[in-house]
């Protein structure tokens, strides 16, 4: 179980949260201006990195707010969490695997 720092509630156990998949996937502003392939890419295709990953979390059993996190998918280190409208913090320089 992870300990996740909610930007509003502080460090809370993972059981209070819901993972929302990769972050910063913008819905096309005009869906009819994109091709079927581009639409499918928006709907279904996600990166699955081994390493640092920006992803969305929802504090479902707490403040119910969505936020973004930078998490290492191997070590599970959480380098940063930030509100949805905040600028993306840079990825950490260390490899995150201890």
């Amino acid at each position: 179980m992870l300990k996740i720092p909610c930007p509003w509630c502080g460090l809370r156990p993972e059981t209070e949260f819901r993972n929302g998949g990769e972050a910063h996937i913008a819905r096309p502003a005009n869906p009819f201006a994109v091709t079927d392939a581009e639409w499918a890419d928006y709907l279904f295709m996600r990166t699955n990195p081994k390493g640092w990953h920006r992803e969305r979390w929802n504090h479902a059993q707490g403040c119910r707010r969505w936020f973004n996190a930078v998490r290492h998918t191997v070590s599970h280190e959480i380098a940063a969490t930030y509100p949805m409208d905040a600028a993306q913090p840079p990825l950490p320089e260390h490899d995150g695997e201890g």
């Binding site: 992870l2 079927d36 929802n58 969505w66 949805m84």
Partner: protein, 1004 residues
């Protein structure tokens, strides 16, 4: 030695507190402070159980958590527990246990015939022997294997005990209360750190208990007592005896199982939690988990009476139980010499020490020589004899290459063989923390290498086996951990000890037998719980297996309840040899939680029975109960399913309820409907984007039905939404989907459209909702709201108003999910029951009938209304349901719109919603039945659809069904077939509506 095998003095058992117990039907006596294993040994009992596969007699190998053999079924009835290690069961008065996997008894076991058939049970026998014919697997092979192989039996009665869970945070968790762990806890506690010290045993002290070691000039046990006193007095220290830390998880979180009442006997502490799971969130961790001794792998090394040398010493020194009268010690390292001395001191005859090495060093070896105990250097046990107890060994000299040298064999009679193959640090928790192991060739074991989490391994757990190293490591790690946790810790000098260094070892993984491996009846056991031999590993390699993980799964080595604590290194060393690769290159298998088995009861804690999942009850529930309703689970809700009258079965009750609604008036508790209050200047715009149709155009006081889709175009939920004000809507959702819909709205508002000024609140449990339906519903409502004009012109279909009904302020909507005339009445939740009673009273002259969800389903199907989750399954678009009318063409965009121009969603041969009328009107199709065109087509038949809803309709006097059928709308009037197990059902495709009752309305 006194009577039996108990020494007259010494040890930590309490001779003033004798405890009677029963084992395998025999009545025996032990003492307080015994484990079941030590009490058995004190009674001269070595034979405990039968092995998993070959049913070989098995005894007591170890004195702790690593025990693979001495597994027992403890107690009977509801509190029985299988596969417990006799070495860890604290003895209590009246204890009753029996060995596992033996029938009719451990001493005379019919399954032992498996041992003679052992060629059939070699590595991978599951995959080879029982392959054909396939049908024999379920009917013949599996039942027999299940009876003949295996271990104990799970209880069949509900667990009568209580369990609970605690959360704890600390600066430092110390796992293991031996010398290293005690030193670490002491050093950290002196800085004021919040320390938790957990140990799996009843007493702290680990290897110091009973051992003749001195620390700081006094007996080890006295030093232990002083440290524990100091820790107990420290305000921030929590001592957790009888607590096994069984899991090391991410972010330095660990779980421990505390056994709080097991040592008192079953049911002896009513009202107290038997086990407690601790979730420990530790800033720092010190792993002082010690080491496990390994047996040597030699021919027939599994007979009862063959025991680990360290365990034999523990039984003598700590429990005053002498495990034999005439012993042979067999070793590849110096530590077993201390056992030889302990045996001699306890009055046993040590017939010989057999050492695989050419020489032994250290003070214990010297003292063995001084005592005149015969030592056979560069020799090996090549065979053992004995039935239910070892009776002797055959010893041969070895040559320089480690093979059997010339010269004769010597037979030595004995009733105990004390074996040591070296020590393996208990790296289980370290490895669970994803730390990387390193192979230490000098000590022939894997040791913690690179840490990933905030932990430190100390003492024997780090492969540093001497007492002086343990004390030094512990003191240093305790200070370092406290500092890392932010405390101001002062260096602590380690307590001095006179204990000698651990001595040397020479790896010797496979001891030759009299015949080549795999020939003849002798077996070199590696994993004594799963009956895996060295020959099995070699066979797996010959058959092409190379990865240690594959060999594990193929041979099952290390897959028992002990997870191979004493066998894993022997297995992979023998594997490495067979592969011709060095041990570190072969690597270890993955260590997983739990370290020792944890019962489901403990894991469930209080989350069992009615507390497992909360039941949600409406405000009217008590009325439904007193009127005999049968309840249906809808999400967590309990909803009335139907209300049977005397003598009615389900169908009769549902038929009566359906007829009442169509012919007169019925009342449904619809309070479980999800209700979401949506407010804000952009609420209309927001709903336009969420629903497939427009809501910003909805006039005040009007209600509109809407479909909600995901962006892939598939239907996700439906319901009616009313406009209560310019900036105020009340949305309803399906009962089971209310939370998901609110999550969905929040996600879009927060992540995609933060510029919209809208907020959403769940008001499901703020409003009790009654659905009043049927041709006389207006008359009933009029009686309760006499001043209100309810006629069609004043209060038309799909409108909502706030009025006083039966003296309560209520919100009334003219909608109906049953179809036809109907009203939905909403009052504050706590007025729900009063309104229900008032409506029932007002309806009495009309014969008002309460109806349940099953009647609601039939009625809505008659009227052609879908249910999301029944007619839809996440692959269905509004067009598939023929609901084109609800998909806005004017709106430039809404969630799902883009998807409808994708080629797949635009196909004309997609499965489409149709009605089905069976050829025989009384035949009701099963829901989920597959549909085909050609009933006599050879299998597999091309399937073209399936039944989504199916009922008997009393109002129509026949069955009705909905189905999704490929291109179904073009096929009205055609015949289709449902091939069922015993018959073909013939049906005609129709429009998905069976009774003209009016337009779509709200949900029930």
């Amino acid at each position: 030695m006194g009577a039996g095998f108990r020494r007259d003095g010494g040890g930590r058992v309490n001779r003033t507190q004798p405890l009677p117990f029963t084992f395998n039907g025999r009545r025996l006596m032990g003492f307080a402070g015994d484990t079941l294993a030590s009490a058995l040994l004190a009674n001269g009992v070595h034979l405990v159980s039968r092995s998993f596969k070959y049913h070989r007699p098995r005894g007591i190998l170890s004195a702790g958590a690593e025990e693979p053999c001495a597994l027992v079924q403890l107690e009977e009835g509801a509190r029985t527990e299988p596969n417990l290690r006799a070495t860890q069961i604290e003895l209590y008065a009246g204890l009753s246990a029996r060995g596992v996997n033996a029938w009719p008894s451990v001493a005379f076991d019919l399954g032992a015939v498996n041992n003679r058939l052992s060629k059939l049970f070699a590595a991978g026998f599951y995959y080879k022997t029982f392959m054909w014919p396939p049908s024999f697997w379920r009917t013949l092979y599996e039942p027999i294997i299940r009876r003949m192989a295996g271990l104990g039996h799970a209880p069949k009665l509900p667990d009568p005990d209580l369990y609970d869970r605690m959360n704890a945070r600390c600066d430092l968790l110390v796992v293991g209360g031996g010398p290293a762990g005690l030193a670490a806890a002491q050093a950290a506690a002196r800085s004021g750190a919040r320390v938790i010290l957990a140990d799996e045993q009843a007493e702290f002290g680990g290897g110091l208990l009973g051992a003749s070691r001195t620390i700081a000039g006094e007996p080890g046990a006295a030093w232990v007592a002083e440290v524990i006193d100091e820790l107990a007095a420290a305000e921030e220290v929590r001592l957790l005896p009888r607590a096994t830390v069984f899991g090391y998880y991410d972010h330095n979180q660990l779980a421990a199982l505390e056994r709080r009442t097991d040592h008192l006997g079953p049911g002896a502490a009513p009202g107290q939690a038997r086990h407690r799971i601790w979730h420990i969130d530790a800033a720092q961790v010190v792993l002082a988990t010690g080491a496990h001794e390994r047996p040597l792998v030699f021919a027939d090394n599994d007979r009862p009476g063959i025991m680990l040398a360290g365990a034999a010493r523990t039984y003598i020194e700590r429990y005053a139980a002498v495990p034999g009268r005439r012993a042979v010690v067999f070793t590849n390292n110096d530590t077993a010499y201390e056992t030889a001395l302990a045996l001699a001191d306890a009055g046993a005859e040590v017939a010989a020490v057999i050492d695989l090495r050419t020489q032994a060093d250290g003070p214990f070896a010297e003292r063995v020589a001084e005592r005149g105990i015969p030592v056979h250097h560069r020799s090996a046990i090549v065979a053992t004899v004995g039935g239910q107890r070892v009776a002797g060994v055959e010893v041969r000299a070895l040559d320089g290459a480690g093979e059997i040298a010339g010269g004769g064999a010597q037979s030595i009679a004995c009733d105990l063989v004390a074996v040591s193959g070296g020590w393996s640090p208990a790296v289980h928790l370290f490895s669970q923390s994803r730390g990387r192991l390193r192979y230490d060739g000098t000590n022939a074991c894997f040791v913690p290498g690179v840490s990933i989490q905030a932990e430190r391994s100390v003492g024997a757990a780090q492969g540093r086996f001497s007492l002086a190293d343990a004390l030094a490591d512990g003191a240093q790690a305790g200070v370092a951990a406290a500092r890392a946790a932010g405390l101001n810790a002062v260096d602590m000098a380690p307590a001095p000890t006179d204990a000698p260094p651990a001595g040397g070892i020479e790896a010797y993984w496979l001891v030759p037998g009299k015949r080549p491996l795999g020939h003849g009846p002798a077996k070199h056991f590696i994993d004594m719980q799963d009956d895996v031999t060295a020959a099995d590993i070699r066979l797996a390699v010959r058959e092409g297996f190379q990865s240690v993980e594959h060999v594990k799964r193929y041979t099952t080595v290390g897959m028992g309840t002990d997870q191979g604590k004493v066998s894993n290194l022997n297995a992979l060393a023998i594997l490495a040899d067979a592969l011709g690769r060095p041990i570190p290159e072969v690597g270890t298998t993955t260590f997983r939680a739990p370290y020792t088995p944890v019962t489901f009861g403990a894991l469930a804690g209080r989350d069992g029975g009615e507390l497992m999942d909360p039941a949600r009850l409406t405000a009217i529930h008590v009325w439904h109960e007193t009127h005999g309703a049968v309840f249906e689970n809808v999400g967590q809700w309990k909803r009335p399913y139907w209300y049977p009258r005397a003598g009615e079965d389900k169908q009769a009750a549902v038929n009566r309820e359906c007829r009442a609604v169509r012919e007169c008036v019925g009342l449904l508790d619809a309070s479980t409907l999800g209700k979401i209050d949506i407010r804000g200047p952009d609420a209309g715009e927001f709903l336009d984007r969420i629903y497939t149709n427009s809501f910003s155009t909805l006039p005040m006081g009007k209600v509109r039905y809407g479909l909600m889709c995901h962006d892939d175009g598939m239907i996700f939920d439906d319901g009616t939404t009313a406009r209560l004000g310019e900036d105020h809507f009340l949305m309803t959702t399906t009962s089971g989907n209310a939370a998901s819909v609110l999550d969905w709205l929040e996600e879009w508002l927060q992540t995609e459209w933060p510029e919209l000024k809208v907020y959403c609140s769940s008001v499901t449990e703020q409003w009790a909702t009654l659905a009043l339906a049927g041709p006389r519903s207006r008359d009933v409502l009029a009686a309760l709201a006499p001043d209100v004009d309810l006629d069609d012109a004043a209060f038309p279909f799909m409108t909502t108003r706030e009025w006083v009904v039966a003296g309560m302020s209520a919100r009334i909507a003219r909608i109906s999910f049953a179809g036809g005339l109907g009203f939905e009445l909403n009052v504050p939740w706590d007025r729900g029951l009063a309104l229900w009673r008032a409506v029932m009273a007002a309806g009495e002259p009309y014969g008002i009938t309460p109806y349940g969800t099953e009647a609601m389903h039939v009625l809505r199907a008659e009227s052609g209304f879908i249910i999301v989750g029944q007619e839809t399954d996440g692959t269905v678009t509004p067009f598939d349901l023929g609901m084109d009318w609800i998909v806005s063409k004017k709106e430039p965009d809404f969630i799902g719109k883009r998807a409808y121009s994708r080629p797949d969603t635009a196909r004309t041969d997609r499965k489409q919603l149709v009605g089905l009328l069976t050829e025989k009107p009384l035949e009701v199709l099963p829901e989920g039945a597959q549909l085909v065109d050609q009933p006599h087509h050879p299998k597999p038949m091309p399937m073209i659809g399936h039944v989504t809803s199916s009922y008997y309709s009393e109002n129509l006097g026949r069955s009705i069904a909905f189905a999704l059928v490929m291109g179904g709308r073009e096929r009205l009037g055609e015949t289709i077939y449902a091939p069922l197990k015993t018959k073909q059902v013939k049906a005609v495709i129709t429009r998905p509506m069976f009774l003209e009752t009016g337009k779509a309305g709200g949900h029930g």
